[in-house]
Amino acid sequence: MSTDHPVDPRGVRFTAWITSGVLSVGLVTGSWRVLAAQTALFALCAFVGLRMNPWGQLYRKTLRSHLRELPEEQGEDPGPVRFAQGVGFAFTLLATVGYATGWTTFGVVTNALALAAALLNAAFGYCLGCRLYLLVRRLAPAGSPTESH
């Protein structure tokens, strides 16, 4: 199983801003290469681990030392965040395929949806993919209940 530590929510939003930037560039240029790069990043975070996220590393190296220490209990559950990266992966993959095969409208729509979700997270701290995670868990509750605290 994953050994991800609780994640810093400020780092998540930092990443979401950069992702929004990349997805905006993708939307304006219609370049499948831009989308492919973002797809690879999402895949890294979702399937390998959030620690692999280069923007997260950039955040830890630059901004975090200037911010106040994050209290232990303020950490986010990495589960929903990783799941959301997986949702992002699915959408950007579709957009990449759409642009690459000349099915541009499809590419634009999926790219726009991914951008909307990233922007909502960056600007408002509202993680659509994380909500989806709760919904999915509710429909198919995890087999072993976690212990209460």
Binding site: P6, P9, S24, L27, V28, T29, G30, E73, Q74, G75, E76, D77, G79, P80, V108, A112, L115, A116, L119, L120, A123, F124, Y126, R131, L134, R137, R138, P141, P145, T146, S148
Partner: protein, 158 residues
Amino acid sequence: MSPGWWTLAGVSLAVLTLGALLRVRAGRITTPGTFRGEERGRRPVFEQLPPEMAEALRGAVRPHGTEADAAVTLVQLSTAFCAPCRHTRVLLSALAEREPAVRHVEFDLSHHPEWSTPLGVHTTPTTIALDPNGHELFRIRGVPRREGLTEALRSYVD
């Protein structure tokens, strides 16, 4: 402007609107009549729930036998590692400490996912205010606003 720019502008506008709407809606007080028809709020919440849930909630409202010692019980429904849930917990427990007629209990929905549908709770945190008989007085989705909540409680605790 190319179509890409238009789409970008459209998405940004949509996200701004949606985000603002979510902000406005969060923390607002909803009374039972305004959602899910008339059914909710008329009957004690216990009667609408499966026995095990009803028992747990009954115990929360009346922990010391049958004598109700709090006029309002704020039942907070949370999920693990949810930042707004922590803010809500801090706010509500402080309120309950100041106000003896108010009790605060918290349930973790990640341990009881089957509760969400019968309670009609689809976002966390959601806080349901119950009277000693288990009638729903109001509910709040998101982090409650202190002033609004104090105002809403005033008519029940005096």
